[in-house]
């Protein structure tokens, strides 16, 4: 009886998922393995995906670099947050969340205004006779855009995990002879692993399929897999190829997160994502 009730309660979401996730997914799958002219089963698109391998590699590279930078920036912040008084914690939490209240598109466009050749940064540098520097349309600008947009997604899970670490474990480590550096890498860091994995996943998954950031901040040399997919659907009018590429990307993301979780559950005995 109870079980039936809970199914009933989750019915709206189940229907939603069915209509807007599962069915479209099937459509993508269908397009990926059919010939557009005859409508017959065909693996040609999947075979032709080889030409996108460099783009795929570049996408993964950019995303890993972004996730790593997010981690390096985010971890100290999260650690600092977790060790403040509850009131300060709440305020810092709000601050971290604040950029997320602004539209993603707007935030990215703002970087264009900052970085472009006649942008604010170059204008400012010009006052000192420097530049204009080539800031926009570089790989650095793309990574910057990714880090800026997805940093909160790294900080929040890290903060949650670190603030849950029992303070007595830190005292126990000190008691057993650890100075603060040893305490960090022997106890605090291993216990942060679930948060790190969760944060890396939260940054990696959306960045690997992003297309807007690279279009606005990147150049033709920084085209990412998301851009290619968008182009295939819109400009190139080749939904079959786009579907095939989407499918491969999705499988790839699944495999990546799966590997990370497997690694995490071996370390920790728990899965967090």
């Amino acid at each position: 009886m109870k079980k039936n009730n809970s199914v009933l309660l989750s019915l709206p979401y189940i229907l939603w998922m069915l209509a807007f996730t599962l069915i479209p997914l099937c459509v993508v799958g269908y397009y990926a393995v059919t010939d557009p002219t005859t409508g017959a089963f065909s693996l040609d698109h999947l075979k032709d995906l080889g030409i996108y391998l460099p783009v795929l590699g570049r996408s993964i590279g950019y995303c890993l670099v972004s996730a790593l930078i997010c981690l390096l920036i985010g971890y100290p912040v999260a650690y600092y947050m977790a060790h403040r008084t509850p009131l300060v914690q709440k305020m810092l939490y709000m601050l971290v969340m604040l950029p997320m209240c602004m539209s993603f598109l707007l935030r990215t466009l703002a970087w264009v205004g900052l970085l472009q050749d006649t942008g604010i940064i170059n204008d400012f540098l010009g006052l000192f006779g420097i530049g204009p520097l080539k800031l926009i349309r570089t790989p650095g600008a793309v990574v910057l855009g990714m880090v800026y947009n997805y940093l909160p997604y790294m900080i929040l899970p890290l903060y949650t995990t670190i603030s849950k670490i029992d303070h007595r474990l830190i005292e126990a480590a000190q008691d057993l002879g650890c100075n603060s550096v040893q305490t960090f890498y022997r106890v605090i860091l291993p216990l942060s692993v679930p948060g790190i994995l969760s944060g890396v996943t939260m940054v990696f998954v959306p960045t690997v399929s992003t297309f807007y950031i690279s279009q606005k901040l990147g150049s033709t040399d920084t085209v990412l897999i998301g851009d290619v997919i968008e182009r295939l659907f819109k400009q190139a009018n080749d939904p079959n190829m786009g579907a095939a590429l989407s499918l491969v990307l999705m499988v790839l993301v699944f495999v990546c997160t799966g590997i990370m979780n497997r690694f995490g559950s071996e370390e920790e005995g728990s899965v967090v994502v």
């Binding site: 029992d166 007595r168 008691d175 057993l176 022997r186």
Partner: protein, 373 residues
């Protein structure tokens, strides 16, 4: 044998203007099993944490082996701690938890293996090395925590209510185990508990604390038999505490009657607290008794009956193996050695009256008093 190892001089501790410790003076000998005993909030855990180096006292000094160690951080002290509820590292298995301190100290691998294996044997966990600590029972986790501290062969082991989370039977076993380990290793144990029975049965020396002050220091027998004030008398076992007047050496008057006692050295006619332990009272026929009273309640306790007897409006607790029903009139006799005389203190009049006695209430308060940070 009894070389002084640790000395606390005039320790005070204040948090947000609240005085937690108020002038603690105490020395601890090498190889000693010393227990800090008191109700929650008495300052016993704070004292332990100061010795461990996790707190710096507001004033006063901690001396270890002749050196002041106030500012020595925990990781540089030859002291290890068994924490309240263990604080085992959840990301490490049993073996790695125990090996933790040795690895930090860069002990060679073969020696780590040898010492951890030996430790596993000592705490009866042989073969458990590869288990996850989360999969162990409370008693097993407790033993891992003890092994993790002991394997470093510290000079002093601090134990903060280590048995608090265990059930009664396991607690008794672990008490024996701890006592055995302490005697086998010769390591100085400083043990914190609010359980008076635990303190009496394990310790060489018991330090009774309340309100941030030491109330009494002594061997368990002395603390029990010669409590210094009403607080100690009440906290260590059950006590009937009455107002009395010391007539002269060896003579005390209470309930309008003079009794012979074994205490001396009080001023003439000094008002005193008189302690009579419930198990020391002999029940006799009414006509033979020093005092005659009426039974008002009877509780069966297994070993004995707890009976409440009213004497002239004042209720006493008496423990007896013979049944006396409610309403029965009984007489009691008091031998000189059953009467303990104490100077009046700030605690006089607060304890030792069983007028509102309730067995249930007693158990409730016992359970409540275990949390202290």
């Amino acid at each position: 044998m009894s070389k002084e190892l640790i000395r606390l001089r005039g320790l005070t501790m204040e948090f947000d203007g609240e005085r937690i410790l108020d002038g603690i003076d105490l020395y601890i000998n090498d190889h000693e099993f010393l227990t800090l005993l008191g109700p929650s909030g008495c300052g016993k855990t704070t004292t332990l944490r100061i010795i461990g180096g996790f707190l710096t006292p507001t004033s006063g000094t901690v001396t270890f082996d002749g050196e002041v160690i106030n500012d020595v951080p925990p990781y540089k002290r030859q002291i290890n701690t068994v924490f309240q509820r263990y604080a085992l590292f959840p990301h490490l298995n049993v073996f790695d938890n125990i090996a933790f301190g040795l690895r930090v100290a860069k002990v060679p691998k073969e020696e780590v293996d040898r010492r951890v294996e030996r430790m596993l044997e000592i705490v009866s966990l042989k073969g458990y090395g590869h288990r996850a600590v989360g999969a162990l029972s409370g008693g097993q986790q407790q033993r891992v925590a003890i092994a993790r501290a002991l394997v470093n062969e510290p000079k002093v082991l601090l134990l903060d209510e280590p048995l608090g989370a265990l059930d009664l039977r396991l607690r008794k076993d672990m008490q024996n185990e701890l006592k055995r380990i302490q005697q086998a290793t010769g390591i100085t144990f400083i043990y914190v508990t609010h359980d008076q029975e635990e303190a009496l049965s394990m310790s060489d020396t018991v330090v009774v604390m309340d309100k941030g002050r030491i109330q009494q220091i002594g061997r368990p027998e002395d603390i029990y038999n010669e409590p210094k004030n009403a607080f100690v008398a009440d906290f260590i076992g059950e006590s009937n505490i009455l107002d009395g007047i010391m007539l002269s050496d060896y003579r005390v008057k209470f309930f309008g009657r003079a009794f012979e006692c074994v205490d001396k050295g009080f001023a003439e006619n000094e008002p005193v607290d008189v302690v009579i332990r419930p198990e020391d009272i002999d029940i006799v026929a009414p006509e033979e008794g020093h005092l005659v009273g009426t039974v008002t309640s009877v509780t069966f306790k297994g070993l004995n009956y707890d009976i409440i007897v009213e004497f002239k409006g004042f209720k006493w607790l008496i423990q007896t193996t013979d049944f006396h029903g409610v309403g029965a009139t009984i007489g009691i006799r008091l031998n000189p050695e059953d009467i303990h005389i104490m100077h009046k203190s700030e605690y006089s009049g607060l304890f030792g009256d069983y007028s509102s006695y309730s067995a249930e209430y007693d158990e409730l308060t016992e359970d409540a008093g275990d949390e202290e940070e």
